[in-house]
C-alpha cells in the first residue's frame, strides 16, 4: 500500500513537472526536444506492446510510423487536394495503420524468434523503398522530395503553431497512450500476450487463441505508431522517406530495451535517454553519434536487463543467469 501511494505521488509530481516545463524552459529549442521525447515515447509504447508484452521481436516497426505519417499527409495536404479536419483524419490514419499491422503480421504468424525479426526488417525496408520510389508511374508518395505543406492540426477552431502548443498536444497524447498501455497490460488480452511471450505452446494449451492474440498485438502496436506518425507529419508539416530509415526502428527498439523491457516507466525513460542524449552531446557536434554508440554498448554491458527492471521479469532473468553459471 505504501509503495502504491509513493508511486502515485511520484507520477503526479512528474505530470506536474511535465506540464510546467514550458514555463521554466530557457528557450524554444528545449521545448522542441521535450515535444520529440513525448512523440517518441508514444511510439515506443506501441512497440512495447509488440516486443515487451507479446514478445514478438519487430525490427521494422518504423514502417508503421511511416505509413501513418504518409496516410495523414495524403488526407490533409495539397498533394491530393484533400484537407480533412485533424480530428477526422486521425481515426482514419489509426485505422489504416492498424490494417497494415494485420496485413504485415499475418504472414509472420508461423515464424518464431529471429525469423520474425528478419521478416519485419524486410517489410521495414520495403516500406521505405516504396515510399522512395512510388512517384512513378503514378505519383503516390512524391518520391524523394516527400510531401510538403501538410495542414497543421486545428483544434477548437484555431490552428496550432509553435513548439509549446505541440508539446502540450503530444504530452496529452502520451498520457492517453500510457493509460491505454496500462489498461492493455492488465486486461485479458494483456495476460494472453504475456503467456505467449513466456511459452507459446503452454499458452495455446491453456486455450489462448495465439493467432488472434498475435494479430491483435500487431494491430494495436501499429495503431500507436500510426497515431504518432500523424502527429509527426502535422508537426513537421512535411514528410520524407528519410524520416523512416531502419536506424529509426533501431532507435525505438533501443528505447524499449534500455529502459527495461515490458515496463511502461522504463519505456518513457528509454525515450528520454535516446532522444535527449544526442542533444546533450550536441556540444561535441561530430562526436555525438560516436558517444551514443559507445553509451549503448556500455549500458548493455552494465545493465543488460535495462535501467528499470519490471519485477515480473527480474526473477526469471536471475534464474537464467544462475543456470548459465552452472557447469554444463
Amino acid at each position: 500500500m505504501q509503495a502504491e501511494r509513493r508511486r502515485i505521488v511520484l507520477g503526479l509530481a512528474l505530470a506536474v513537472t511535465a506540464f510546467g516545463l514550458p514555463l521554466v524552459a530557457p528557450n524554444d529549442y528545449v521545448i522542441g526536444v521535450a515535444a520529440r521525447i513525448c512523440l517518441y515515447a508514444t511510439l515506443a509504447l506501441g512497440l512495447n506492446v509488440v516486443v515487451g508484452f507479446a514478445g514478438l521481436l519487430d525490427i521494422g516497426y518504423v514502417a508503421f510510423f511511416g505509413i501513418g505519417s504518409y496516410l495523414y499527409a495524403f488526407l490533409a495536404s495539397p498533394h491530393f487536394g484533400l484537407h480533412l479536419p485533424f480530428l477526422l483524419a486521425l481515426p482514419l490514419v489509426v485505422l489504416g495503420t492498424a490494417l497494415f499491422g494485420i496485413l504485415i503480421g499475418a504472414p509472420t504468424l508461423r515464424l518464431g524468434g529471429d525469423y520474425l525479426a528478419i521478416v519485419t526488417l524486410g517489410f521495414g525496408e520495403i516500406t521505405y523503398l516504396l515510399l522512395l520510389n512510388l512517384d512513378r508511374p503514378v505519383n503516390i508518395t512524391n518520391g524523394p522530395s516527400g510531401i510538403i505543406d501538410i495542414d497543421p492540426p486545428r483544434l477548437f477552431g484555431h490552428a496550432m503553431t509553435g513548439n509549446t502548443s505541440y508539446y502540450y498536444l503530444f504530452l496529452v497524447v502520451l498520457g492517453l497512450a500510457l493509460i491505454a498501455a496500462n489498461r492493455l497490460q492488465h486486461s485479458r488480452i494483456g495476460w494472453a500476450w504475456q503467456a505467449i511471450r513466456e511459452d507459446e505452446l503452454a499458452a495455446r494449451a491453456m486455450g489462448i487463441n495465439t493467432t488472434v492474440a498475435k494479430l491483435q498485438a500487431f494491430a494495436i502496436g501499429a495503431s500507436f505508431a500510426g497515431f504518432a506518425g500523424a502527429l509527426l507529419a502535422s508537426w513537421q508539416r512535411s514528410v520524407f522517406p528519410e524520416n523512416f530509415l531502419f536506424t529509426e526502428s533501431i532507435n525505438v527498439l533501443a528505447m524499449v530495451i534500455i529502459g527495461g523491457m515490458g515496463s511502461l516507466a522504463g519505456v518513457i525513460l528509454g525515450a528520454v535517454v535516446i532522444v535527449a542524449l544526442p542533444e546533450v552531446f550536441r556540444e561535441l557536434q561530430a562526436y555525438r553519434l560516436l558517444v551514443f554508440g559507445l553509451m549503448l554498448m556500455v549500458l548493455m554491458i552494465f545493465r543488460p536487463q535495462g535501467i528499470l527492471v519490471p519485477r515480473s521479469r527480474a526473477a526469471p532473468a536471475a534464474r537464467d543467469a544462475a543456470e548459465a553459471k552452472q557447469p554444463g
Binding site: V51, G55, L56, L57, P107, T108, R110, L111, G112, G113, D114, Y115, A117, I118, V119, L121, G122, F123, E125, I126, L129, L130, L132, N133, R136, R197, E198, E200, F246, I250, L253, A254, I257, I258, M261, A286, Y287, L289, L290, F292, G293, L294, M295, L296, M297, L299, M300, I301, P304, Q305, A317, D320, A321, E323, A324, K325, P327, G328
Partner: protein, 312 residues
C-alpha cells in the same frame, strides 16, 4: 539493346556481386550458428576492410610499389584488410558481446550492443577518414583492356579475380571447418555449447576464433567491393550488411554452404530485377524474395533446423 540482349552480361555482374554477398554472409551465419546472435556490426567490419585495402593501395602507389611486382598488390591488400577486420571483430566479441552472453542476459542485449558498436565504428571511420568517399585506383591494377570474351559476354579480369578470390576463401573455410580439429570444435560448439564444453572444448576460444574468421572474410569482401565499385564511404557497410544478412537467411542461417548459395542466388535475382524491372526496385525484389522464402520455407534453402528461441 533490349532486355534479353543485356541479360547474359547482367548475369555475370550478378554472379560476381553474389559471390561477395556470400563472402560477407559467411560472417553472419558463423556467428549466428554459434551464438544465435545477429552481429549487426559485421557490415562495419566489411567497410573497415575496404578502407584498410584502400590505405594499402595508396601507400603502395605512393611508394611506386616499392619494387614489388604489381601482382602482389591485391594479395597484400587482402591480407592487411583481413588482419585488421579479423582482429577488430575478435575485440568486439571480447569487449562488447562476451560480457553479455556469459551472464545469460536476454537475447536482445547483444543485439543492441551490436547496434551500438555499428554506430560507433561508422562514426569513428567518418571522423578519422572524413565523410567524403575514397577512390580505389582499380584502373592501375586491372586495365580495362584485360578481359575475356565468352559467347559474346565480356568478363573482365577484375570480375574473374573477384569471383576467384571469393571462391578460394570459401573453399579454404569449408576445408577448415570440415577437415581440421579446430573445425570439429566449431561444429561441436554450434551443435551444443554445453555438451562441447563437457567434452573439453574451450568454448570461449572457439567463439573468439569464429569471430576472427568471419570478420576476416568480411574484410576481404570489403577490398573486393572497393576494387569493383572503385568508390567507398563510411556508410557502405549498412546496405551491404543488410544484403549479406538476407543472403545468409535465404540460404539457411547457420549453414555455411547455405550462405554461399544464398549470396549467389540473391546476386542473380538482383541482376534479373535490374534487367526486367525498374532498377530502383532491385532491393524491393530482394526483400520480397526473402520474405517469401521465410514464409514458405522458414529454414531457408539449405537449412535444417529452425532456431526455437522464441523468448526475446
Amino acid at each position: 539493346m533490349d532486355a534479353l540482349g543485356i541479360l547474359p552480361q547482367q548475369l555475370v555482374f550478378g554472379l560476381a556481386l553474389g559471390a561477395i554477398y556470400g563472402l560477407i554472409a559467411l560472417g553472419y551465419t558463423m556467428v549466428y550458428g554459434i551464438l544465435l546472435m545477429i552481429n549487426f556490426a559485421h557490415g562495419e567490419l566489411f567497410m573497415i576492410g575496404a578502407y584498410v585495402g584502400w590505405g594499402v593501395l595508396i601507400w603502395l602507389i605512393n611508394a611506386n610499389f616499392g619494387g614489388l611486382h604489381p601482382a602482389w598488390v591485391v594479395p597484400l591488400m587482402l591480407l592487411m584488410a583481413m588482419s585488421v577486420s579479423g582482429i577488430l571483430g575478435m575485440s568486439l566479441e571480447r569487449f562488447a558481446y562476451r560480457p553479455l552472453y556469459t551472464r545469460g542476459a536476454t537475447r536482445l542485449g547483444p543485439l543492441i550492443s551490436a547496434v551500438g558498436a555499428s554506430i560507433f565504428l561508422q562514426n569513428a571511420v567518418m571522423l578519422t577518414q572524413g565523410a567524403r568517399m575514397k577512390v580505389y585506383m582499380t584502373g592501375l591494377l586491372f586495365p580495362r583492356s584485360w578481359y575475356i570474351q565468352v559467347a559474346g559476354v565480356r568478363i573482365s579480369a577484375l570480375v574473374l579475380v573477384m569471383v576467384g578470390v571469393a571462391l578460394l576463401l570459401m573453399w579454404l573455410l569449408n576445408l577448415l571447418v570440415q577437415r581440421t580439429t579446430l573445425g570439429r570444435c566449431m561444429r561441436a560448439v554450434a551443435e551444443d555449447r554445453e555438451v562441447a564444453a563437457v567434452m573439453g572444448v574451450n568454448v570461449r576460444r572457439i567463439i573468439a576464433i569464429t569471430f576472427l574468421l568471419g570478420s576476416a572474410l568480411g574484410g576481404a569482401a570489403g577490398v573486393l567491393v572497393g576494387l569493383y565499385y572503385t568508390q567507398i564511404d563510411f556508410f557502405m557497410g549498412y546496405s551491404a550488411g543488410l544484403k549479406a544478412f538476407t543472403a545468409a537467411v535465404l540460404g539457411g542461417i547457420g549453414n555455411l554452404k547455405g550462405a554461399m548459395l544464398g549470396g549467389i542466388v540473391l546476386g542473380l535475382i538482383e541482376s534479373l530485377a535490374v534487367t526486367f524491372l525498374n532498377p530502383a526496385y532491385r532491393d524491393v525484389v530482394a526483400f520480397v524474395v526473402l520474405i517469401l522464402v521465410l514464409v514458405f520455407r522458414p529454414t531457408g534453402l539449405l537449412g535444417e533446423t529452425v532456431p526455437q528461441a522464441n523468448k526475446v
